[in-house]
């Protein structure tokens, strides 16, 4: 990979949330939400981060934008380490990283007009020189995401879910960021609306040079569709990371295989012939993760060695890494 094109380099990221008890707020344990995650993101690339609830995917997104201070490791965004940045510097960097949220209802201030929401980042970073420029930019942003600029004075409750999500996308674009973290941006939307937002995000990436996405979602088929590469997470660890085309054709990690088989394909003929892996039990609590490979208690391929040590990500072929000793 060409290092010049590297936009985000996450090295051994750890995020532990302390569990405190009692009046003196004594720390009794750690929730290891993210436990040693390493990945790279290139310019113009989309990396999908997929996993079930509690696997730490959202936490990673929030660490990257500095909403959480990482417990350990490094996050190099355009060669600057976010984990050790001052609050003031961080506020400036946030101009270049934007976040799109899952819930189009709670992510927009109900008392702000569509125009106000979209123009908010411009105001925060003083990016519009005068009123006229500000107004033009807001209208342009609304047009880009496919909203009629005449709706600039309307309030969020006057829009449908899909349109609200478009406002969220416009807000994310306001400062011309080089990285957009999409945290489950479509899972709250109706099926027929989801495709509209996916296409919007794809078109934006095609037309904007140097825009990268970190696409966080639980639905593997959506992630695979939009991403160039996919990282599969489980209990704070990356289990497998590879090109999205390879993911379906040649999954190596047993968890990836189980996840793939759990997602039904809308085609009864294909469904008849598919492998079905039904996992045992449930995801363990990140408060008390199993020793060794976090997946081994539910794994259908586990051998005694799996509980010895956390398997590191190892490269199988170009761009295909997997954290499993049996793969």
């Amino acid at each position: 990979m060409n290092q010049d094109n590297l936009i985000l380099d996450v090295k051994d990221l750890k995020m532990y949330f302390p569990v405190v008890r009692g009046l003196l707020r004594r720390k009794v344990a750690d929730v290891k939400a993210v436990d040693g995650v390493t990945f790279k993101l290139m310019r113009d690339e989309t990396l999908g981060l997929v996993g079930e609830s509690g696997c730490g995917k959202t936490t990673i997104g929030r660490c990257i934008i500095g909403l959480y201070r990482a417990t350990g490791g490094q996050i190099l965004f355009e060669d600057e380490d976010i984990t050790s940045m001052s609050e003031k510097k961080l506020r400036e960097v946030r101009r270049n990283i934007a976040l799109i949220f899952q819930d189009p209802y709670s992510s927009l201030d109900p008392r702000q007009s569509a125009g106000g929401i979209v123009g908010e980042p411009l105001k925060i970073h003083n990016m519009a020189l005068n009123k006229g420029e500000y107004k033009d930019r807001v209208e342009q942003l609304l047009r880009i995401v496919g909203l009629d600029p005449s709706m600039v004075d309307r309030f969020p409750h006057e829009f449908s879910g899909g349109q609200r999500q478009r406002i969220g996308v416009a807000r994310a674009l306001a400062c011309d960021p080089s990285l957009i973290i999409c945290d489950e941006p479509i899972s709250a939307l109706d099926v027929s609306i989801q495709a509209q937002i996916i296409n919007l995000l794809e078109e934006l990436q095609d037309s904007v040079k140097g825009l990268s996405y970190l696409f966080i979602a639980h639905d593997l088929s959506v992630v695979r569709h939009i991403s160039d590469r996919v990282a599969v997470m489980y209990l704070g660890h990356i289990m497998e990371i590879c090109k999205s085309r390879v993911l379906y054709e040649n999954p190596l990690h047993p968890y990836t295989r189980a996840l793939l088989s759990a997602i039904p394909i809308a085609d009864p003929f294909v469904e008849e012939t598919r492998e079905r892996i039904i996992l045992k039990g449930e995801v363990p609590s990140p408060l008390n993760p199993p020793p060794g490979c976090p997946f081994h208690p539910r794994c259908f391929m586990a051998i005694p060695e799996c509980s010895q040590a956390v398997p590191p990500l190892r490269t199988i072929s170009d761009g295909h890494e997997v954290a499993c000793i049996r793969a």
Binding site: R94, E120, L129, H157, E158, F159, Q196, N199, E203
Partner: protein, 301 residues
């Protein structure tokens, strides 16, 4: 301004939208749809009008004794009779309206300004700041409101200024508690997280996004509390540590008329009625406001 984004992106045919919903129209419809709320609103407006125009509409001077007309029954010259030193009850009630409303408004203004500020800071920053502020508020709240006001008023002595101070202190914790709870819940919303992720400062988040979204229940509380404040002031005045004579106040009027309760019930009954009517009206309006401002009902009603 850098502009990496080309304008010519395919428009996705999203022009159709639901018709505009006027927030204000919905508010008015819900608010005024209930008869009692409307009645309360009318009562409050009448009292406000009376308070403003007291010196023109009061038939007599409320402070000038008239020893020729002591303890008179209601008649065409004195509609609600006269008290023990011949002052016209109706005029005193009219001037008392002014006292009650002014005290109510000033107290609520101070109490809610301080309360909202403390509550917002505690809720927004959390941690030790929250603990210190809210424990202090808890300590204040562990006294019954009227008792707290009573103690402070007794320490400071009577008079308009001291009544305002004591009632403000007594009422403030309620606002702080309510605001803090509101802030804690509004803070959970993704739009606050979005603000932070955009690089907004704490002050901007607090003033432009958190506070405006917390304000509806505060407005309801202010309305309801106006009634309660007026009642509390009357209570203090009744006990003799509130408004000092000869200023006309409903509480002290009831108190003064106590001795004549058997012979001249109208003397205590009339200011009591005025008090009840005002408190009831504020509660009704507060209730109506709650329905009209409830965000859960938005888009339904």
């Amino acid at each position: 301004m850098p502009d990496k984004i080309a304008t010519g992106i395919v428009e996705n045919g999203m022009a159709e939208t639901a018709p505009r919903v006027s927030e204000w129209r919905r508010f008015r419809r819900v608010f005024l749809s209930r008869g009692l709320v409307f009645f309360g609103m009318v009562v409050i407006l009448v009292f406000i009008f009376v308070a403003i125009t007291a010196q023109w509409i009061a038939p007599y001077d409320p402070y000038k004794p008239d020893y020729t007309a002591i303890l008179q029954n209601p008649s065409s010259s004195h509609w609600l009779g006269t008290d023990a030193i011949g002052r016209d009850t109706l005029s005193r009630i009219i001037y008392g309206t002014r006292t009650s409303l002014v005290i109510g408004l000033i107290v609520v203004f101070f109490a809610c300004t301080i309360g909202i500020t403390l509550g917002t800071i505690a809720g927004f920053f959390g941690g030790w700041i929250y603990i210190i502020i809210m424990r202090f508020i808890d300590a204040l709240m562990s006294f019954p409101m009227i008792l707290l006001a009573l103690v402070i008023a007794a320490l400071l002595g009577g008079g308009m200024k001291n009544v305002i101070i004591s009632l403000s202190i007594a009422l403030m914790p309620g606002y702080a508690r309510l605001m803090c709870g509101q802030v804690l819940s509004v803070k959970q919303n993704d739009y606050i997280l979005a603000e932070r992720s955009m690089g907004a400062s704490n002050l901007r988040m607090m003033l432009r996004h958190v506070v405006p979204n917390c304000i509806s229940p505060i407005i309801v509380q202010i309305t309801m509390m106006l009634g309660a404040t007026i009642l509390a002031e009357a209570g203090l005045s009744f006990l003799g540590i509130g408004i000092t004579p000869p200023t006309a106040a409903w509480g002290s009027m009831v108190s003064d008329a106590r001795e004549y309760l058997m012979v001249m019930p109208i003397l205590s009954f009339a200011p009591g009625m005025a008090l009840m009517l005002v408190v009831f009206a504020f509660n009704m309006v507060g209730d109506g406001l709650r329905d009209a401002l409830d965000p859960r009902l938005r888009g339904i009603l």
